[in-house]
């Protein structure tokens, strides 16, 4: 059973460009959350998707947007990249009917470098 898979694993972009990161949740999971982890810090919540809608959003600008597909996979899009967007982007999924309290299963992340 595959866990949470993210692609690509590494990405290098330049300022002003746009990027799309992808996530496939663990089998049986329907909720996907995205986190940004800057070097030396803990993850910061970007948003969560459930039933193809953004259910909650963290303190991130509108340049960060997302999507969830009918198969529960998800994309994170970042427009007009800034140097400060350089970070590890983590996707986490949680199982159906678990509500907000169940543990998260994390992918290995996408390391984004903005030059």
């Amino acid at each position: 059973d595959a866990g949470v898979t993210q692609s690509p694993t590494h990405l290098i972009k330049t300022r002003g460009q746009q990027v799309t990161l992808r996530c496939s949740p663990k089998s049986g999971h329907d909720t996907v959350s995205w986190y940004q982890q800057a070097l030396g810090q803990g993850p910061q919540f970007i948003f969560q998707y459930y039933e193809e809608e953004e259910r909650q959003r963290g303190n991130f600008p509108d340049r960060f947007s997302g999507h969830q597909f009918p198969n529960y996979s998800s994309e994170l899009n970042v427009n007009a990249l800034l140097l400060g967007d350089s970070a590890l982007y983590l996707c986490a999924s949680s199982p159906r009917d678990a509500g907000r309290r169940e543990k998260l299963f994390f992918g290995s992340g996408t390391q984004l470098s903005v030059l």
């Binding site: 993850p43 259910r55 986490a92 998260l104 994390f106």
Partner: protein
């Protein structure tokens, strides 16, 4: 703003030493509490969690944590560490009213063999 504070960024211990990693949070309402661990080269995984009931919770690999509501703390403990416990440990809080986890900055634990 809600925040989570982990007291030590780096901890170095010898094998068989006892471990306590501190975690404090700032949120006045009901919370769910978590410790996650990231072993070298691996993804984040849950170590233990507290939702309600007995404030002393036991997790995998001999870890335990105690929730002290009056101190807004959820410290992680292990009586005797092993070299394989070398990892980064994150404390996280889920305010009961929403879906996000608020994370501490992490503690890098190195166990000397």
């Amino acid at each position: 703003a809600q925040s989570v504070s982990q007291h030590n960024h780096h901890v170095i211990l010898s094998e068989a030493a006892s471990l306590e990693l501190g975690c404090n949070y700032s949120y006045g309402g009901t919370v769910n509490l978590f410790w996650y661990v990231q072993y070298p080269g691996q993804h984040l995984q849950l170590l233990l969690k507290y939702f309600s009931g007995d404030p002393l919770v036991k997790g995998i690999k001999g870890f335990e944590a105690e929730f002290i509501k009056s101190k807004f703390s959820f410290n992680l403990r292990k009586p005797s560490v092993q070299w394989s416990d070398t990892a980064e440990y994150f404390c996280a809080v889920n305010p009961y009213s929403n879906y996000q986890l608020i994370w501490g900055a992490g503690t890098k634990l190195i166990i000397k063999p």
